[in-house]
Subunit: 197 residues, 2 copies
């Protein structure tokens, strides 16, 4: 057994940081286990034994991104919570390191099923983390009963990712706020509720 | 001058079809000009002289996709038009050839600025094609005056592309219909209008 923060944990942190750096700076095509070992100052054998493939590193990186990601907001109103969510997504996608990193992982997922499955788990975890903002709002009477909380959270991120992928339009806080407002308007109109009030 | 349907047009059609096939079947990494020439049964010199790079082929393919793409619906109601739009997007993204083709082009755009710019032009053209559905609806009083038509069209596609990219949730006609309904609810609530009624 190894305690947290031990050598294995430090090796993992170094390799995942190096992988994130390479993806953000040069993209997926440059990701190579030998190069990662050199950058992370870790033995090649260790990297090959522990991960073995670039896909395994990507999957582990996405797991780490879930663990490290920001918890849901709890501002007391759905508007406050979803604006916080939308602004966090914009901040991530426009970040100098995180933006290119997400682009590279999304690209990797298009050509590899294992990475695609890990990417789906990442987003599913993020959606589950933020869904209680909607169920709390339902309890406060802010949206109809039976509103599909995960659909609302997806609806907040969707226009931001659409701009990120297609390049059609800026990504800033005012776009984030409108994404939140649009999701709330649709939720209130009962688009995602099984039983409209 | 060459008439439409002449040899140059046939060469272009063959090469672009071959490029689409390779992207859909094997992805971007397999796209190679010599291989395209062979598949298209066109001389290598012709392909190298006419396009010169894989990026140039991708850009030309996206231009062709704009030209060949389906015109806007005109059903007489915003709901009818936007459902038609959403269902067309779902049909495209779930198509056995088009789905992988879009994935490959989106991936290519993450690592190449010229392809990214061509992809943005493709989506901008599609959004402009469908935007009159919203301005017509505004004229009929279905949405507030000053509604940003392009924002509404983007909002219809966004949740469908979000599912396509993240793998969180199915893509079918009921999801398409809810995407249209959500965009309309937000538009009616004035989220994208400069002057709420």
């Amino acid at each position: 057994m190894e305690r947290p923060g031990g050598r294995t944990a430090r090796v993992r942190a170094s390799v995942l940081r190096a992988a994130g750096d390479v993806l953000a700076e040069q993209g997926l095509a440059s990701l190579d286990l030998g190069d990662l070992a050199r950058r992370a100052e870790v033995g090649r054998t260790t990297v090959y034994r522990r991960w073995g493939t670039v896909t395994a590193v990507l999957t582990d990186l996405l797991l780490e991104m879930v663990v490290e990601s920001v918890p849901r907001a709890d501002t007391g109103s759905l508007d406050g919570d979803l604006r916080a969510n939308a602004r966090l997504v914009v901040k991530t996608l426009t970040d100098r390191r995180q933006g290119p990193l997400f682009r590279a992982i999304i690209a990797a997922a298009t050509s590899d099923e294992v990475t695609a499955a890990a990417l789906t788990r990442f987003y599913a975890a993020r959606i589950r983390e933020w869904a209680p903002c909607v169920t709390d709002a339902e309890a406060r009477g802010e949206v109809p009963r039976g509103t599909d909380a995960e659909e609302v959270i997806r609806a907040v991120s969707a226009p931001l990712y659409y701009r990120f992928i297609t390049g059609t339009g800026e990504l800033d806080d005012s776009v984030a706020d409108r994404a939140a407002a649009a999701a709330i308007a649709a939720a209130r109109a009962g688009v995602w509720s099984s039983s409209a009030e």
